[in-house]
Assembly symmetry: C2
Homo-oligomer: 422 residues x 2
């Protein structure tokens, strides 16, 4: 069994002098040596360099306290190859770090290595396995980022979400996944898939851990109040509720009941049509943008793309600018309608995924419960603590108001504690 | 004296069979051989390859009709070095074309070469000279893009604007510059400076030429109606009017008078405070984002940056996330207030620049009349036809409603004709 590493607790221990950054790096290295062969979370890794870097004298006083940070291999790094899950970029060495990688380094994080992404962060399954049950998918596209945290190998990892690539693997692997408000974390140095959707986010053990990491990385206030008032939560099952398995419904109902028992005001809510309409709009937005984001690969290197991606791009090429522009207008209306809801609710609660992680590696699962929230752009959080029919994790998803990420973390911690207590 | 090349007229001649793409390429090559030594618009160039490529049989039937397109050297190209105006990227060869470069190629444009940018599209002057008077600055940062059109060397060029880097050089060089609605042209493969501001745009001889190019590049309808009704125009001198020289005021007044004489309803308008407040907000937005966009260069290669850029980045590093977030909120309020104005007006008319091109090469001029409109994100157009105290061009700037770029082109052609007729 795996014990996850708490970023917040480790940083606190380093700041207090109870642990050194070298102690933390060695603990990670030990877990990686124990589990990486079977989990396959890393695309590249240099454990001796990590432990050596942890010896730098000033690290313990930094915001990230020298904690090892794993980086999804869709983000550019100078010190590690950046292969983007594609043979087209085998051995590729960028000239420049992604901005978020520099932010992590400036905050005192140590880049531990690159984590497996599906090909260009799309749907073709990767080599990574689910640490909770090795015969099952970890989800995608941030497969390695979720798995490395779930396996206790790293306390903080960076992932990205264009459809459901943070919340889905977080749910499957039983870790906390945080998709911030659109553009809170800069995407410079991310290989784009769809520029209106691509969002960098974080994985950690629990809500306090991603809140700690978000605060340390961005320099913003993500501190959580101990006496935060019980939130007002709207449970939104959405027009896609029929796609969720019975155990996903049970998990969502259990989370809502636990929140209510802990004092939250919990209300069932049907989403306005203006919001539901934007789910379908994601298809045109993502497809049109992907067909331009991969124009070079499509025009010059089509044979090097997986059939999964090539088939997708072929269909996407038929999306007209008119259809795209109409989809963007639909998205804008949905964002306004969603903002209105937050006058009455502190957070929405919905499915993270349709069920437990799929058995085998034929699929990374469906983003059906994620893509609408990526397009509308507010913060999303996968909250852990519940399990499905076969005992694998099933998370529930909290949605916050655009730009109010810290407030969502408050609700997230409330819900996490409520689930644990229930 | 220089005659500019009309993209719309050349494409029409090719589509009608009166000219071949090879004829057009040879005409460009001849102009480039005649003027490039003194203008210095190109960062890289391969005229034999251009003429050879123009011989491909299917080109004449494409939307861009095989017209040569010049690309600002801040955009990635596989076939030409991409040096970004910085010695840090001397000889750099990207693995992938920028999306807009692929769009141009897919539409049947021939990439003629790379055009000089200031260092990373910032303020340090480049080697390019103003084709209208070689002792004067062409402006920046899209120096080569404006100069190549002004010198009659190319019919269409791509530039970028983060502060005023399209409208300013267009005005100084006497060409039509078009900064589209934010993200109309995808920025993938652009070296970022500030991701909320960086905008790709076009230069051409006249309004019909950039409208033609925008339509051909994007597949959207940019056709201009011959019988478009006379527009409602608000003249906004802004709180920075005192920065404009007497001849810039005279040009703006002359443009307004010409529009009125041609039948437009012309009204003087003081901008609401909510809009004016966003001018100062550009400082924090640009600076905060630049300090992350150049994090790698700053952390690793500081000595290779110009003093102009290094000093700027040093100051920018002090901008807190709180100040940045507040500036973004100010920008959002300004965008809403600006949208409200377009209920009553079809376009706003304001200064493009503070005056004629500066003599010498110590400065590229000021973006004081541009940065607010880059941040608010609607389409901007530099309209030609007027001159300043010493006979150099002074453009005027039209501002349109976000997403209504074609409508702005209609007003632009109306104004251009009105100025010519007056």
């Amino acid at each position: 069994m795996t014990e996850m590493l708490s970023a917040a607790a480790l940083a606190q221990a380093v700041h207090a002098g109870r642990l050194s950054p070298v102690d933390v790096a060695e603990r990670c290295a030990e877990a990686i040596r124990a589990r990486e062969d079977e989990v396959r979370a890393f695309a590249s890794l240099d454990l001796p360099a990590l432990v050596a870097a942890a010896g730098a004298p000033e690290l313990a006083a930094t915001p990230l306290a020298g904690l090892p940070v794993g980086v999804k291999d869709i983000l550019d790094t100078v010190d590690f190859p950046t292969e983007r899950g594609s043979k087209l970029f085998a051995g590729h060495r960028p000239t420049t770090d992604a901005a978020i990688v520099r932010m992590a380094a400036r905050a005192g994080g140590l880049i531990a290595g690159k984590l497996v992404t599906t090909e260009f962060a799309f749907m073709q399954p990767s080599v990574t396995r689910n640490p909770r049950r090795l015969t099952h998918s970890p989800g995608g596209s941030s497969a390695g980022s979720a798995a490395a945290v779930a396996a206790g190998m790293l306390p903080i990892t960076l992932g990205t979400q264009t459809g459901g690539s943070i919340i889905r693997p977080a749910s499957f692997c039983g870790v906390t996944g945080y998709k911030p408000s659109f553009k809170l974390l800069p995407v410079l140095g991310l290989k784009p898939f769809a520029w209106s959707l691509d969002t960098i986010g974080l994985f950690g053990a629990h809500v306090a851990d991603v809140a700690f990491a978000a605060g340390a990385l961005t320099g913003r206030d993500f501190s959580l109040d101990e006496d935060h008032p019980a939130p007002r939560i709207a449970v939104v099952k959405t027009a896609r509720a029929h796609l969720a398995a019975a155990d996903a419904h049970a998990a969502l109902d259990a989370a809502a009941a636990a929140a209510g028992k802990a004092g939250a005001r919990v209300t069932a809510l049907d989403l306005p049509d203006a919001i539901e309409a934007a789910d379908e709009a994601t298809v045109a937005v993502q497809g049109y943008e992907a067909s331009l984001a991969f124009a070079d690969e499509w025009d010059r290197h089509r044979d090097a793309l997986s059939p999964t991606l090539a088939t997708y791009l072929e269909g996407a090429a038929a999306i007209t600018p008119e259809r795209y522009d109409a989809a963007r207008r639909t998205a804008r209306r949905a964002r306004h309608a969603l903002a209105d809801l937050f006058a009455e609710y502190d957070a929405l609660l919905t499915f993270s995924v349709a069920g437990e992680a799929p058995e085998g590696f034929a699929t990374t699962g469906s983003p059906a419960f994620n893509r609408l929230w990526t397009l509308t752009g507010g913060p999303c959080l996968n909250v852990t603590g519940l399990t499905g029919a076969t005992g694998l994790p099933i998370g529930v998803q909290l949605l916050g108001r655009f730009g109010r990420d810290r407030e969502l973390m408050q609700v997230g911690r409330f819900l996490e504690r409520a689930i644990t207590a229930a």
